[in-house]
Every structure is written in structure tokens, then in C-alpha cells.
Symmetry: C2
Subunit: 435 residues, 2 copies
């Protein structure tokens, strides 16, 4: 493709002279402290915990500065030193733009929050934040020689991993609940993934994928069963810190299913602290769940370190319908450490807030994003978020992936009919009476 000069967003970023592309150092277990090499495929720790990626932050601190970022493309690869992919040649990209922070002054005023912004992850490839984990996870899998991966999904992750796997030339075996959003099924199938549906929830998919992986020996890309997806999600934290001029907000709200994004944001902020790029208190991290599936909320209320399986879970915010998360203890650690909390919201509140945001701000968020906004409203009412605090809400995907989340009545006219003018005020100020 040498005929093309400098496409910006998906441009490859090459290492600075004499420096490493990635400062990845190894893998470690956050539960039992065992260490693993990152040069080979690793799944869970032998103790059953997810593994996390460690970077040589001291070396990086000496050789990297914020100014180095200035000329880089506005994609998540601008932070390649803090990502596990060791060469630009391994990068598998569909154009992961830095997602905008959208100011929400009208909706903010409506819930008495003066400084409410939303990071809109719906603008990523595949229409959800799952593209971050897939871009980094698939790039790293490709670098490690993986040829076939498998995973359970509530929809968006499977769609993203199927499409990025296709781009990387990796085969994908995916299982999702039969009730998962229809369009995500279409994305997996179009990408050529081997897809099956299960008449159950994501933990049933997880069980089937676990057995399939055991039988075939292929790569298990389930949430937190490989260490690299979280590194992709981490870039949400890196981006928002840079977008806010390295001045961290007071509160970050995140819709919590598997919780990888929250764990990732927390890890990003800690790494930035170690680099000295951010200082002071970390934001209070708030895990938002639905009343119909709130295991993290229950655990937080009880001051527990881990959550219990949530029976008969249900919510139309499908991405947070996760009855038991493998990384629950990491999520809870982050909430306790930052003085944050967990909160659940109702199905009605989610639906109402989704429409409210669209009408007041023109943003059509996904139900999970609407849950976060509903939680912000509730916490403002409770006085747990102050009016002048700086609040970041994560909208994890585009509302367009959930066409059936709302039910609206719309009139159908035949060609000969006229659109009613009754009830409208004309441009000159006259009022048509509604008849």
C-alpha cells in the first residue's frame, strides 16, 4: 500500500528511535502473585485467577513524555508503549478512533450536574467499546501465533472479536444466548465465525465454550481468560485522562457486566500515576448494574470481596446481564480503593433515560449507557455526586445496535394524505388549532 501516504487514523505508529514499541515486561497474578512470561500463550493463572500485564514503567518513565504523543494519530495505538503488542507489524486495526467526550449541558442541568460529559464509545468500529479489547486482544493473539479462538458473548464482544479475527485471518468459534441482540448475531455470521446460540444466559455459553476449548485445545478468548483484552479496554482510561488535559475527573460511571472496562480504567490510571502523568486522588469509580442482575451491587452492599452467582438474571441492557464475573474481585477492589460504589437501576429508568438523552442532547445511547446516565441522576438526587463535581459517563455502545429497546407509535399515511399541520406553530407565529 506504499502508493498511499499518511492515512491518519489507521496509520501505523513506529517506535521512537532507539526505543521499544511496547514496554511489556511479563504477566502476574493479582491473587497469588505468581509470575508468567508474556512470550507464550497464557490463559488463567494456575490458581484460577485472571492474569494481568506488567510494564517496565520505570524505564518508560525515563524515556517517554506527554509531548511524544502530540504528533501521533488519534487512535488507541498512540499509547503503544503501554500496550502488549510488541511490533507495529502485528497491529490489527479497523480504525479505532479516539472517541469523543461529549458535553451534556442540558441533560446535566436536568439532573443538577454542572459538569457532565459522556465518552461515546458508539463511534468505534462495530459500534461498541468491545472493539478496543478485540483490536488489542486479536493483535496480540496474532503475534502469539493463535490460529483459532473461542468465546462466549452477550453479543457485542462476539461481534467485535469475529470481525477483528476475520481481519487477522484467525478462525472464531462463538456462542451467545439466543436472546442477545439480533444484529450482533448477524455480525458474527457475516464475518464467517462458527456461531451457535444457547437457550440460556452467558454463563451457559461460557460452559459450552469451556468444554469446546478443552476438547480442541484452541485459544480461549473468554472475558479475562486471556490477559490482553483488558489492555485494550484500558485505553478508555488513557484517552479520557489525555482528553481532560491530564486532570482527572471526580467520578467515572461504568456499566458493569464482566467489569473488564472498569478494571482496565483503574489499571490505566494507576499506570499514569506511576509515570507521574496524573497526580492527586483517583476518581471515584462507580459500577452501574440493572436491578435484574446486580451481583456486584449486592457484594458491595455487604462489603464482600467477591460476588455470588445471580439467579434468573434479566435486563434489556443485555451487555450487563452477567450473573457472575470472573474478575468480580478486581472490580470490587477498584470500588473500595477509590471510594466509589455500585448501584443498580430499573428497566424503566434505563428506558426513560435513553429517550431523555436523545431528546435533550441528541445522543442515542445504548441501554447500558442509559443505565449509567440513570445512575448519575439517582446519585445526584441522593447527594452522592455533588452538583459541581466533574462527572464522566461511559456510553459503551451505539443505541442503533438495540432497535427494539423502545416502543414508539408512529402513524403511517397513504401517499394522498397530508402531514397534519394542526398543533404546529407556523414560522410567522400563527398557531394551527389541534382538532
Amino acid at each position: 500500500m506504499s502508493a498511499f501516504v499518511s492515512p491518519r487514523v489507521d496509520e501505523k505508529v513506529t517506535p521512537l528511535a532507539g526505543q521499544r514499541y511496547s514496554y511489556v515486561e511479563g504477566l502476574y497474578c493479582p491473587r497469588c502473585a505468581a509470575e508468567y512470561a508474556h512470550q507464550h500463550v497464557q490463559q488463567l493463572c494456575q490458581c484460577g485467577s485472571p492474569l494481568l500485564v506488567r510494564y517496565d514503567l520505570e524505564a518508560l518513565k525515563a524515556s517517554w513524555s506527554k509531548a511524544d504523543l502530540a504528533s501521533r494519530p488519534w487512535s488507541l495505538w498512540r499509547y503503544h508503549e503501554l500496550l502488549p503488542v510488541t511490533s507495529p507489524d502485528a497491529v490489527v486495526s479497523l480504525g479505532e478512533v479516539v472517541t469523543p467526550l461529549i458535553e451534556l449541558p442540558v441533560l446535566g442541568a436536568d439532573m443538577r450536574l454542572d459538569n457532565l460529559v459522556m465518552k461515546d464509545e458508539g463511534l468505534l468500529p462495530t459500534g461498541s467499546f468491545k472493539a478496543r479489547g478485540a483490536a488489542v486482544g486479536i493483535s496480540r493473539a496474532k503475534e502469539l501465533g493463535v490460529t483459532h479462538l473461542a468465546m462466549p458473548t452477550n453479543g457485542n464482544a462476539g461481534a467485535a472479536w469475529s470481525l477483528y479475527a476475520a481481519r487477522a485471518g484467525i478462525k472464531a468459534t462463538i456462542s451467545m444466548p439466543v436472546d442477545a441482540p439480533f444484529i450482533t448475531r448477524q455480525e458474527c455470521a457475516a464475518a464467517g465465525a462458527s456461531l451457535t446460540l444457547v437457550d440460556g444466559v452467558i454463563s451457559d455459553s461460557g460452559k459450552q465454550i469451556g468444554e469446546w476449548v478443552k476438547a480442541t485445545g484452541h485459544y480461549d478468548a473468554s472475558t479475562l481468560k486471556e490477559p490482553y483484552r483488558i489492555e485494550g479496554k484500558k485505553t478508555m482510561g488513557l484517552e479520557l485522562a489525555e482528553q481532560l488535559g491530564w486532570q482527572l475527573p471526580d467520578v467515572i460511571l461504568y456499566p458493569t457486566g464482566g467489569g473488564v472496562g472498569l478494571i482496565g480504567i483503574y489499571k490505566a490510571l494507576q499506570e499514569l500515576q506511576t509515570l507521574g502523568w496524573v497526580t492527586g486522588k483517583l476518581p471515584r469509580l462507580i459500577a452501574v448494574q440493572a436491578n435484574g442482575c446486580a451481583p456486584i451491587v449486592k457484594a458491595w452492599q455487604e462489603g464482600a470481596r467477591v460476588s455470588e452467582f445471580w439467579e434468573r438474571s434479566h435486563t434489556h441492557a443485555f451487555g450487563i446481564n452477567v450473573p457472575k464475573a470472573l474478575g468480580d474481585f478486581l472490580v470490587l477492589d477498584a470500588l473500595y480503593a477509590t471510594g466509589g460504589r455500585a448501584i443498580a437501576v430499573s428497566e424503566t429508568a434505563i428506558r426513560w433515560e435513553q429517550t431523555r438523552a436523545a431528546q435533550l442532547e441528541g445522543t442515542f445511547v445504548c441501554p447500558e449507557g442509559a443505565a449509567v446516565l440513570a445512575a448519575a441522576r439517582e446519585l445526584s438526587t441522593l447527594g452522592e455526586i455533588g452538583t459541581h463535581e466533574r462527572v464522566v459517563a461511559l456510553n459503551t455502545g451505539a443505541g442503533i445496535k438495540y432497535p427494539d429497546s423502545q416502543s414508539f407509535h408512529v402513524d403511517v399515511l397513504d401517499k394522498q394524505s397530508a402531514i397534519p399541520t394542526a398543533g404546529f406553530t407556523t414560522a410567522s407565529g400563527d398557531s394551527h388549532e389541534r382538532t
Copy 2:
């Protein structure tokens, strides 16, 4: 929102010291050459032609350089001198990122094109390129004091304009065909637009909106009936020129319904020529339509200056189901002037190419984008695009907005079942026999 420093993508760009934010000079008619002031609402020319925006390019040439762009956010507002909005305070934004140019080496090889890239407009707010026209069109409408607008739509434009109007505090009255993509209906309704469906095609919607505008005196935001939407679409041309290092490609393929994007890209490239930022021959512009609705193709084949109404039009690539475009003569002018052409593709080719692109490159394009890729394949086969030519395909929206564009069979398993391992090769190379 002063507590937040420097959010990047939706950051306001302020004018350079002593310079104008916009170099808009006025409006002119490309058919009869009449001139109009841009300081008031203007719809069509009195001769019935759309109006175009003229900029003071000579003054701009003296005061603006490519280097001025370097530090600006990667949104379409980085080109504000060439946009009609006269103040940054009027900008209505939902985070219009510069969309990535995605290299398609595998799909390109599959159709014998060595240099095929796709500009992926699916990453814009609302999931389609319609966000460009809405962002600029609504910003300008707000600046002109518009309080209520109306428009017919095939779906995506109505969705974008409804949501941007909500953000601007402008009311919207929308009509769309009952067969338009369901999710776009939901977007309009969620945004609080006054929406009606018509049992017909977009020209039937157009007729009803025309009558409604006549009765109420409100702003007609129909395609090309106001001069500013095209200026938003123009940014596709500005972006791709900059992304390619100001070296224009040989060919640009565009899915053509109303044709505003093609007219806009052509206008952008001409303006860049006048500024001296690009030189040499313009790319051949290629208008892609569907066999079931190909009025521009028919006109081009006949060497005509205008198209004729296409009776009983039909295609599942709904955005290009436009039987007669108001700006047809401008589209045809651009094709003739650049040595381009028009081409129609079949419904089968569109469906096949959509899946092919997903499987080979991981990009899930909309049917209109798939039509463009199918056309590239056909023109390569015909020898009308050379193997080594540099080709840009416009994917105008995300595939996720069209969940029903494909039909896939997917097996449903009960919880107790196992995902078949038959037919899979294990990681260690053993082959499970398919039974």
C-alpha cells in the same frame, strides 16, 4: 463546562488571530448564476435549482496554510474556514471524528486491485455519513435562527437531522417510507421528532413535506433545498485529500441516491485546487447505483445532462433508492468533468460483496457501501479500473443499521448440549472427523 480542559475531538476550534472563522462569501445558482446573500435563510434559487456556497478563496489562499491544520482536533471542524458556519459558538457537534481510511489488501487482491482503501463513514455519530450534513446543516440553521425544520428521508438522514436538531433545540418534522430501515425510525422517534411514515417511496415523502412546509412556512431541510448540507458532505473530500497527504487518488466510488456526497466531494476537490493544495488531474468520480433504481446510470449512458424519474424503484440498499434527484445535473456534470462514469449493480452482488468484505477484511459495511465494493470489482473485471490504480471506496454507513440485509442460518443449542467439535482441527493439528 470550564472545569474541563481540552477534550479533543469535540473541542472548539477558534479562529487564528485576526482571521475569519469562515470565509463564506455568499450563495450562487449553478444553473442560472443568480447570487444570494448567505446571511438569511435561502432555499432553492428562483429558477428551481439548488444553491451552492461560495467562499473567498483568494483571501483564504493568502492567509491559510496546510501547517495551520497540524494542531487542530481530528474532526470535520478542522476545516472551518471552508465551512459556512461563521462562529465556533454556533457549532452543534456530537463528535464528528475524521473517519479512518481502512486499507483493504485482501479484498483488493480478491478483485485484482492493489491499492484499495475504504473511507469508513460508519464511525460517525448516528452510524452514517449523514452526520456530516446534519452537523453543518443544523449548525448553520441554528445560526440563522431556524426553530423548526422538515424533511423527507430514506432513514439515515432523518435520523441524523432529528438527533442534531434535538441537540440544537430545533424541532423536526420528518417523513420516511414505511419500508425504510426500522432503526432509523427509532432514532427519529427517540429524538422527539414529529415523524410520519408514508406507504410509498422518498419522493412521496418529499411531496408531503413540501406541502407541510408550504402550509407552515417552516424551514425545508430536504436534500439540496437548503445550501449547507452539501458543505458538510464536502468534508469527506477534504479529509481524504489530507489523509492521502494531498495526493489525490485515481478513482473515487460513491453510492449515489441524492448524490449530495458526490457533489460535495467534487466541490471540495475544486476548492482545494483553487487554494493550490492539490494539483494535477482530479480523480475519476464514479456514481454507483442499484439495478432496481439507476436513473443516473441511464442518463450517463445516454449522455444526458439530467435524469428521468425511475418508476417502481426498488433496492435493499435503501439509501440509494432515490428515483429522481434534485441535483442530478450536478452529479452528471461531475462524472463528465472528471472522466468518471455511473454503474449499477445487482441485489445479489451487493449481498455477496457485503459478506465477502466482512469475511476477508472484518469490515461490516452497509448495503450502499457493499454496492460500491461490488462496482469496484466489476470495473476491475471490465478493465476500467487498472490493477495499480489508487482507489477509494466510500462506505457511507455501518452495516449494523441494516440487521435484515442478510439471512444466515444459526443453530440453537439447549444448555446441556455441546458445541460440535467435528470438522475442527485441534490446536495440536489433529482433525476431528465430521460425522
